[in-house]
């Protein structure tokens, strides 16, 4: 990630130390993961120890310290989805992608994560691919949704 862009993000938040999480979220959302250089730059600019940044980057689930696949697949494991068969959806996604939650495949195509609730509980079970929600999804539909990703 371009250092200039990181500086821009930091400046957008007035280089304020209290905005540390917001800055990291912006970097994560643009770059899909937090490279070491980015963390170093943020530490330097905000004058906070790298250890604190690492604490935050590992504490919150939104952050990733390793590169992510081109397509981010989130399977909701919230209670409403759980009672409507989320586990079977997850099993089907694992079968289709060959990866487990938290993993990215070797050719960086898919990353798989489980999430707690996407707020579309009425449509459970819910899977989200690159920000698009798929509600009331059946395990048998998973392969075709994922096959549409290039």
């Amino acid at each position: 990630m371009d250092i200039k862009r990181i500086d821009e993000i930091i400046e957008k938040h007035d280089s304020e130390e209290s905005s540390l999480i917001q800055i990291l979220l912006d970097i994560q959302s643009e770059h899909h993961w937090l490279p070491k250089e980015a963390l170093n730059r943020v530490a330097e600019k905000l004058q906070v120890p790298l250890s604190r940044i690492q604490h935050i980057a590992t504490f919150y689930k939104a952050f990733s310290l390793v590169p992510k696949g081109r397509h981010e697949v989130h399977v909701c494991m919230g209670t409403a989805c759980h009672v409507r068969g989320a586990q079977r959806v997850l099993d089907a996604v694992q079968d289709a992608t060959g990866i487990k939650p938290g993993e990215t495949d070797a050719d960086l195509k898919f990353s798989l994560e489980t999430v707690n609730c996407l707020g579309c509980c009425a449509l459970g079970p819910v899977m989200e691919v690159d920000g698009k929600h798929h509600g009331n999804i059946a395990p048998s539909q998973i392969a075709s949704v994922l096959n549409n990703c290039d």
């Binding site: 130390e17 905005s19 979220l25 919150y60 079977r88 079968d95 707690n116 707020g119 579309c120």
Partner: protein
């Protein structure tokens, strides 16, 4: 955009907006909440725009994207005014017919109406659909009346009049008095009276104070806060500014989870619009009162919904709770007095100010006043958001509004209060819903998640599910929570995989007791789902432990799939679809599942044609031996 520098100017602006509204002009409102968007609402809105253009009706008909009306199950939802015609599950392909029929010829498209399953009757108006009819939608009803991205729409329905009233006709003490009289209790967790926190902060000598909206909504299965902040962001903002005035705060925060991107967009937009109009910022409405507010996105940690953890996160640090010998209302963000309330709590404030505490207290029970929004989800016919006066029974919510359990299944339990709550069984369905009664029943109100479970849900598995959830969410700072949850999970996993032992239930109860020493409510209340399921469904625990049997036929390790040779018609459906190739079959040959190969994915059970119903689940007894090869011919 002109700044509104006095209450009179606000009223003038409102009159101008209202004068421009022609009630006879047709308006197409499409729900643009996250639920309906997931069902394709954006495509429907686009289709309406194209279709109206095609007919040259763009200036004669309004279209708008509104907040969530709650009936997410049947989205995308389209409402046509005047007439309040409600169309459900609308697809872009339905749009030409709606425009030519309803807009041009004023006729109703029958096939898109709600059909009452009990009577078979079609219902045209939204308010007559049983799901809505039995609710008291004081707060939610505003969602559908406005475009969530328009401050003008909010002003048109009287928005910011409560703020104006407070700033010019009431002293902070009067506001406090009104809130106290209303006995508004927090909608986000424990039901703590709002005025007590406000007063504590107000009385703290520190001149720097904060007010905060908790829109972290971590309870999985609850989405009312999302619907409110997405659908009617100005009402939350107005409530917050009123609270700030009462408390004497000039800065505020809105903590929204990043999983709700639309909520983040809409609340930020609302703040910008309000600032342009002089409703946020310096010298609000010319009153001399200053208030600024910042949106802070959560980064995915359930514990950050807890007040002290949330405040630590606001400071830009890892959100770990701290002991609360001193309340956060006195020492919160950067050690300044900080009032934190839930989204729905704030949403009630402008209404209480405008309509008065007496209006508010006419709803509810002795100790719990007003209405509460629940998210009714899980195994229930009508899923969605439900707003009812406190004091209705669970049965009314589940049967009258929710329409009962789908698929002819039997109700088993309803889970309230999220990971800190509990499961309430059939025998308690006549329980009155308010803060105190739910706590007495071993559950709690929580933020209002209401997850309905039927006979196919295993209660031990549900307990394991919540503990597993909390295992990932415990921040690990204190031992009772960190270790207690781990040990509980180990025991529960054993029970649900057929490795349970005598004494496990007692061990769980003992662990639960020791977790009372945890630092924050996450750990203290973590045992609730376990204790309440033991209390009401002990027999299910015992069946798992003593008979290696899962009565709900849900725990994968304890069940086997079996094809009944007497029922199998050798149709080949399961044979073809089994992903593990575990089914032996063939033309006119009884199909048999190879138990060694079976991964228990359940596909055969799902796909076996209903009229045959040959695939069954077995638990607690041996699987009958396979039919010998020579006897398989049909």
């Amino acid at each position: 955009m002109t700044r509104l520098s006095s209450p009179e100017k606000l009223e003038c602006a409102r009159k101008e907006i209202v004068a421009k509204i022609d009630p006879s002009k047709p308006c197409i409102s499409v729900c643009a909440g996250a639920g309906c968007l997931a069902s394709g609402a954006a495509e429907v809105i686009a289709a309406f725009k194209t279709e109206l253009e095609f007919h040259g009706l763009t200036t004669e008909v309004n279209t708008r994207g509104t907040g969530c009306p709650g009936f997410c199950e049947r989205g995308p939802i389209v409402m046509i005014y005047p007439g309040e015609i409600c169309y459900l599950q609308v697809k872009p392909a339905d749009v030409p017919e709606i425009v030519s029929h309803t807009i041009k010829e004023k006729k109703v498209v029958e096939r898109l109406l709600y059909v009452n399953p009990a009577t078979g009757e079609k219902v045209t108006r939204e308010s007559e659909i049983p799901f809505y009819k039995n609710q008291q939608r004081n707060i939610l009803s505003e969602n559908i009346r406005l475009d969530s991205k328009s401050i003008d729409d909010y002003l048109a329905i009287g928005g910011y009049s409560a703020l104006s009233k407070v700033l010019f006709q009431m002293k902070p003490e009067d506001v406090m008095g009104e809130i106290k009289k209303s006995n508004l209790r927090g909608r986000g967790g424990g039901g703590f009276p709002a005025w007590r926190k406000w007063e504590e902060s107000r009385n703290a000598p520190d001149p720097i104070k904060y007010v905060i909206v908790n829109a972290d909504e971590g309870d999985p299965g609850a989405f009312m806060d999302r619907a409110l902040i997405e659908g009617n962001p100005h009402s939350i903002l107005e409530g917050l500014i009123i609270g700030a005035y009462a408390v004497g705060a000039h800065e505020g925060f809105i903590y929204v989870r990043q999983e709700y991107p639309l909520a983040v967009v809409n609340i930020n937009l609302a703040i910008r619009q309000a600032a342009e109009r002089g409703l946020v910022g310096k010298d609000i409405l010319g009153s001399g009162f200053d208030f600024t507010v910042k949106v802070h996105m959560g980064a995915g940690a359930f514990v950050c919904g807890e007040s002290s953890a949330l405040m630590t996160a606001l400071e830009g640090r890892a959100g770990e709770p701290r002991p609360k010998y001193i309340h956060t209302a006195v020492k919160g963000v950067w050690d300044h007095p900080s009032v934190l309330n839930n989204v729905e709590t704030w949403a009630n404030v402008p209404q209480i100010i405008n309509k008065g505490a007496d209006w508010f207290t006419q709803y509810g029970t002795e100790g719990s006043k007003g209405t509460k929004i629940f998210s009714l989800v899980g195994k229930i016919s009508n899923t969605g958001l439900v707003e009812v006066p406190m004091g209705v029974t669970l049965r009314e919510i589940i049967e009258k509004i929710g329409g009962g359990i789908p698929g002819g299944k039997k109700f088993k339990a309803v889970q309230t209060g999220g990971p800190s709550g509990g499961c309430i069984p059939e025998a308690q369905l006549d329980l009155v819903v308010d803060f105190d009664q739910l706590t007495k029943a071993g559950s709690m109100m929580g933020s209002g998640g209401m997850i309905v479970m039927d006979e196919d849900t295993c209660m031990v598995d549900i307990a394991r599910y919540f503990i597993d959830f909390l295992k990932d969410e415990s921040c690990g700072k204190c031992t009772p929570c960190r270790e207690g949850i781990r040990q509980m999970l180990r025991v529960l996993t054993n029970i649900t995989t057929g490795k349970g032992k005598e004494g496990d239930i007692e061990l769980l109860e003992e662990l639960a007791e020791s977790m009372g020493a945890a630092l924050c409510a996450l750990g203290k209340s973590a045992p609730n789902p376990v204790l309440s399921t033991i209390r009401y469904f002990r027999d299910e625990y015992e069946a798992h432990i003593r008979q290696q049997r899962c009565p709900a036929l849900a725990c994968k390790e304890m069940i086997a799939f079996h094809i009944d040779p007497a029922k199998c018609k050798a149709c080949g459906t399961c044979f073809k679809q089994c992903p593990a190739e575990a089914i032996e079959g063939g033309k006119k040959r009884i199909h048999v599942i190879d138990q060694e190969k079976c991964t228990k994915c359940g596909t055969c059970f799902d796909v076996c044609p209903k009229q045959f119903g040959a695939v069954g689940k077995i638990s607690g007894e041996p699987v009958p031996p396979p039919v010998p090869e020579e006897k398989r011919a049909l």
